[in-house]
Amino acid sequence: MVDIVTSHHSPVTSKKEVKISIRNLNIWYQDMQVIKNVNLDVEKNKVTAIIGPSGCGKSTLIKSINRMLDMIPEAEVGGTILLDGQNIYDMDETFLRKRIGMVFQMPNPFPKSIFENIAYGLKIHKMFKSKQDLYFKVEKALKQAALWDEVKDKLDKFALDLSGGQQQRLCIARCIALEPEVVLFDEPCSALDPVATVKIEELIEDLKKNYTIVIVTHNMQQAARISDYTAFLYLGNLVEFGPTQKIFTTPQNKMTEHYLTGKFG
C-alpha cells in the first residue's frame, strides 16, 4: 500500500466566491469510515469534479451535501457543511434539497407523463401561480435541459418510453425546474451511450452559467473536459484538489498521477 497524503487542497483566495464549504467531514457506515476528514470548497458557478476509484466514497461525499445520507440509518456524519456560510444541518432538509438538486447515476423518471415529471417538484413546493404559469415553467425547464424540441408534441406521453439519454435530460429538467442554486450529479452518464453522453456534457457546460455544479465521474476524460476544479478521492481521503488543468498536467501527489495514468482504479 502506498502512503496517503491527506487533504492537499488548494487555498481558495478571497476573490473567489465559495458556495459550499466542507470542513472536517467524516462519514461512517456503522464502524466503517468511508470519508476521512475531508475539507473542500466548492466555488460558485463552476464545475467541480470528484474522481477516484470505485468504492472510494464519491457517492457518499456527494450525498452528504444535500443530506440524502439522512435516509440511510446506519450512516453517521461528523464535521460541517456550509451552504452560503450556513450549516446545512440547521436548515429544513426539504428546503435544502430544493436549493441543492441532484441527478442520479441511473435515470429515474417517475412513471408518469413527461409533463407531470417536471411539474412534480413545482407542485410539491407550490411554485406556480396558475395553470399557464405551471406550463410555462415546465417548458422553460425542458428548454434549459435541451429536451424541449424532442418532447414538445408529446408532453402527456409516458416518461419511461423515452430513450435513456432523454430520460436523464428529463431528470435534469425536473431538477432545474425548481431553480436550485447547486446541482449535484452522481455519474450522470455512466448508463448512457457516447452520443447521449456528449449531450449531457454540453448541457452541464451550459448550466454552469446559472448553477454551481458538483459532478462525480468515473471518466477522467470527462472530468478534464467539463470541470474547472477536480478533487481526487482515494479510500475516503481527499488526496488532491485544485484547478482541473493543474491536476491533470502537474499533479502534486504520486497517487493522483498513478490514478490519472491508469496505473490503478
Binding site: 441532484m102 442520479f104 429515474n108 417538484g121 410539491i124 419511461l160
Partner: protein, 283 residues
C-alpha cells in the same frame, strides 16, 4: 440413453404427473358441482327468496348477505392493512420490534377460522354489543383477511424501486409526500390484487360468520349493518345439516355451491386481470 438422461426423463414425468393431478382435481370439483348444481340455476334462483321451508325458491338473500359481509370486511381491512403495511415498510425502524410484528401477522394468518368466529362472538357480538349482525361478521372476516392484505401491500410497496423514492426526496418532497404521491400510486395494482384475493377468501368462509352474522332463514332482507343476514357458504351448510327435505334441498345446496364457486373464481380472475394490466407498465 445414459443414466443422467433417464433420471431427467423420470423426473420430468413425475413433475408433469403432479401438475396434471392438481389440474384434474380442480376440474373434477368443477365438474361435480356444475353437474349437480346447474339444474336448479335459473334467473328465479338468483333473484328470489327461498320459500316453502327452504325447499324451493331462490338464494337472493344469501347472495346479498355475502356481498354485504365482504363489503364490510374490505372496508375495515383495506385501510387498516394498507396503513399497517406503509408503517412497517416505510416508517418503522427495521429492528426486533418490526420482526416480532411480522411474526405476529404471519401467525394471525395461521389461526383456524373457527377461532376467529369465537373471537368475533366474544368481542364484537357480546363485548361491543353489535349483536349477530353484518357489522360483527364483517369485522370478524376483516380480521381474518388482514394478514393477506398487509402482506400483499407490503410486497407491493417494497416492489416500488428505491430510486423513485430517492428522486422524490431529492426534489425536496417530504417522506409523506413521497409515499402519498409516488409510492402508493405505484403500489396500488399490487395492493388491489392482494385485497381482491382477500375478498375471495372472505366470501367463501363459513366459520367466522357462524356465530357472528348469519341466520338460516330471515323473512326480510337486511335493513342496516345491525341486521343478521343469510350468506352463501352458511346456506349450503344449513341446507345439508338442518334440512328436513333432503331430496329437494340437496340440489339447492349444490346450486348455491355453484354460485359461490363462480363468485370466488370470478373474483380471483379479476385479481389476475388487474395484475396483468399493471405488469405491462414496468419501470
Amino acid at each position: 440413453m445414459n443414466s443422467r438422461k433417464v433420471k431427467e426423463f423420470v423426473g420430468f414425468a413425475i413433475l408433469r404427473l403432479a401438475t396434471f393431478l392438481i389440474l384434474s382435481a380442480l376440474f373434477i370439483i368443477l365438474y361435480f358441482i356444475i353437474i349437480r348444481g346447474i339444474k336448479v340455476i335459473n334467473w328465479q334462483f338468483l333473484t328470489h327468496k327461498p320459500c316453502e321451508g327452504m325447499t324451493s325458491g331462490g338464494i337472493f338473500p344469501a347472495i346479498l348477505g355475502t356481498f354485504y359481509l365482504t363489503l364490510c370486511a374490505i372496508c375495515f381491512a383495506l385501510p387498516l392493512g394498507v396503513a399497517a403495511a406503509i408503517y412497517l415498510v416505510e416508517y418503522a425502524r427495521q429492528g426486533r420490534l418490526v420482526r416480532i410484528v411480522r411474526i405476529g401477522i404471519n401467525n394471525l394468518a395461521g389461526v383456524p377460522s373457527i377461532v376467529f368466529g369465537l373471537f368475533g362472538l366474544a368481542v364484537f357480538v357480546k363485548y361491543f354489543g353489535f349483536g349477530v349482525s353484518i357489522l360483527s361478521g364483517g369485522l370478524t372476516l376483516g380480521i381474518l383477511i388482514l394478514p393477506v392484505i398487509i402482506r400483499a401491500s407490503e410486497e407491493a410497496i417494497l416492489a416500488v424501486p428505491n430510486s423513485l423514492r430517492e428522486a422524490s426526496l431529492a426534489l425536496g418532497a417530504t417522506k409523506w409526500q413521497t409515499i402519498y404521491r409516488i409510492v402508493l400510486p405505484n403500489a396500488i395494482p399490487g395492493i388491489l390484487t392482494g385485497s381482491i384475493l382477500g375478498i375471495g377468501r372472505a366470501a367463501g368462509e363459513t366459520a367466522p360468520i357462524l356465530f357472528t352474522a348469519v341466520t338460516f332463514y330471515s323473512a326480510k332482507l337486511p335493513t342496516s349493518i345491525f341486521s343478521e343476514v343469510q350468506a352463501l357458504p352458511y346456506h349450503i351448510y344449513a341446507l345439508m345439516t338442518e334440512g328436513t327435505h333432503p331430496e329437494t334441498q340437496i340440489p339447492i345446496a349444490y346450486g348455491t355451491a355453484l354460485v359461490l364457486l363462480f363468485l370466488v373464481l370470478g373474483i380471483d380472475l379479476l385479481a389476475i386481470v388487474i395484475r396483468r394490466r399493471a405488469r405491462r407498465r414496468k419501470w
